[in-house]
């Protein structure tokens, strides 16, 4: 059973203590994710409030921090409506299909561990050595791609089963958008995998740990894979999350509330929670892939504590960035969204992936690095020119009316 992968906890004999530690980690991750989601909802409302010169939630608890809890309890006591024309079984199933992948996605994220001074990220927990992540399967980051690709079902089926126009339009938009951006997302993950040489999330973090170039520039994939995959991943993840400026799925002015228009009570709350939970997880995955996850120097005190501190700091920075983007940028048009996905992000990440591959082959074969990269760049630019020419030609022909 190497399903849970490289975790040293499971390499020895599996006794009761090991099972209990795994259970403890499951409960810990579950609780962390719920609390983080709750705080994220509060954080987003509060920060957007600040951006718009309002106060934001301020009544429940200190700084209104318990507002989400109050809303959640309220949702429990609301009437649970199922529309007359809804497809009953699928209607009930859809919110669950959204929440479950959101929870599972976090299982592969390393959220702590001692990576300082050349340690391998393992910590001692009740006399057993283990990683601070729920599972470290050898398929690693592919699991995240799998979960994000099935997350679309919840949205799709919710829209279809509502038996109503706006939800259906919203869900068709959502599935088109998510399928389009998955390609760019996957290609930028490929660049990271190519750079680190492993799929395991722990391995990816390990490859980025250490003192780095010149002793102070961290060995992050943000730099090691070039800046491009990071930018592509960031943009594609926002589209994948249906967050502004790519939130055409729930454009209120056009679609009322999109796929969850007909949902109320706790079923709506499930969609809402899943949306924010996905934001938290996506931030965690970006941190893992590009910013070294919990890796960082231990400044004072035990190393394992600094792992968690670095992880939370980096994640919060990204969550703030998400909220910042949301409160600043207007929503893009649908054709702009599709153009960005298909004509910019996919060719860009594909070209960059080929360039990176050329670079690594050149290093393996001891070719002249500069010449190889220069030739690669020329080939890439030629390809880009051809693509541009093809798009321009097709546009001209369309204007002439030769083709549809």
């Amino acid at each position: 059973m190497n399903m849970l992968g490289g975790d040293p906890l499971l390499s020895g004999q599996v006794d009761l203590a090991v099972v209990l530690i795994v259970l403890l980690k499951v409960v810990g991750v579950f609780a962390f994710l719920l609390v983080a989601t709750m705080l994220m909802i509060w954080f987003e409302r509060k920060v957007v409030g600040d951006f718009q010169n309002r106060v934001g939630p301020n009544t429940a608890g200190p700084f209104g921090i318990l507002q989400t809890l109050a809303d959640g309890i309220k949702f429990f006591f609301k009437e649970d409506l199922i529309p007359d024309r809804a497809e009953r079984r699928v209607f009930i199933l859809a919110p669950l299909l959204t929440v479950v992948p959101a929870f599972l996605l976090f299982t592969i994220v390393p959220f702590g561990g001692d990576f300082s001074n050349g340690h391998d990220g393992s910590v001692e927990l009740f006399g057993h050595t283990t990683y601070l992540q729920l599972a470290d399967p050898s398929i690693g980051i592919l699991f995240a791609l799998a979960m994000s690709s099935i997350a679309v079902y919840g949205v799709m089926l919710a829209g279809w089963s509502s038996g109503s126009k706006y939800p259906l339009i919203g869900s068709v938009r959502a599935s088109a958008q998510m399928v389009s951006y998955e390609a760019a997302l996957g290609l930028s993950v490929c660049a990271v995998v190519l750079t680190t040489g492993t799929l395991s999330t722990h391995g990816i973090v390990m490859a980025q740990a250490g003192s780095g170039w010149g002793g102070f520039i961290p060995h992050w994939n943000l730099i090691a894979a070039g800046f491009v995959p990071f930018v592509v991943f960031l943009l594609a993840s926002q589209a994948e999350l249906n967050r502004p400026p790519f939130d055409l799925v729930e454009a209120e002015q056009e679609l009322v509330g999109s796929y969850h228009t007909e949902y109320s009570s706790i079923r709506f709350a499930l969609f809402f929670v899943a949306e924010f939970m996905n934001s938290v997880t996506m931030a965690a995955i970006i941190v893992t892939l590009f910013l070294g996850g919990p890796a960082g120097p231990a400044l004072l005190g035990p190393g394992w504590l600094w792992g968690i501190i670095w992880f939370l700091l980096k994640m919060t920075a990204f969550l703030f960035l998400f909220v910042w983007v949301r409160s600043t940028l207007p929503r893009v048009r649908y054709d702009q969204l599709m153009d960005l996905g298909w004509k910019v992000l996919i060719p860009l990440s594909l070209g960059w992936l080929l360039l990176l591959a050329t670079f690594w082959v050149a290093r393996d074969q001891h070719w002249n690095g500069f010449v190889t990269v220069a030739i690669g760049a020329v080939v890439g630019l030629t390809g880009y020119g051809l693509l541009k020419a093809a798009i321009a030609t097709s546009k001209a022909r369309r204007l002439e009316g030769v083709v549809d």
Binding site: V90, S138, L142, A146, S149, I150, L157, S175, D404
Partner: protein, 200 residues
Amino acid sequence: METAVFIVCALIVLAGGLGVVSSRNPVHAALSLIATLFGIAVLFLNLGAELLAVVQVIVYTGAIVVLILFVMMLLGVDSEEDLETEPLVGQRLLAGLVGLLFLGAILAIIIIGKESIVTGSHSVTSAISPTVSNITQIGTELFTTYVFPLEVTAGLLTIAVVGAVVLSRRPRDLEPIPEPESMTDMGDEPLTAIPEEGAH
């Protein structure tokens, strides 16, 4: 443990398969198909083929069935079709007969073969090396031994994509179909739709 997982997954796969053929609503059939594909993914995991399991979920569950559902929603196939008419005469009977024959063949193999169908020898499809992770093994094999078939497949897929684009963007007829009279502005009458007979 392995057997227990197998039994649960096999039940899910079979139930999903039955659901695909017996659901009257196409979306329910697609959902059953998802259950089947997931069951198969877990079976792959059970056999230690992690990469296949994930590829199964990403490609089949995450892309192909999504596209199937997408087309259903776009075309609005939510009304229940008339399932009583048979496009081929007597296809129900024939399908049942073929199914029975297939079942009989499998049962016959098991009954005639007795113990000899379980040879106990290593399967030829097992891992080449038990220590190296199967992702590494598949990757190495794909890009060394099977690099030519891989490239040919890639070329074939590219041709298919280009072909689909070319076919869907056929040149228009050189003479465009004239627009109906009522839709063009003749200049001497207000541009209003002519009320159809019997409307309202």
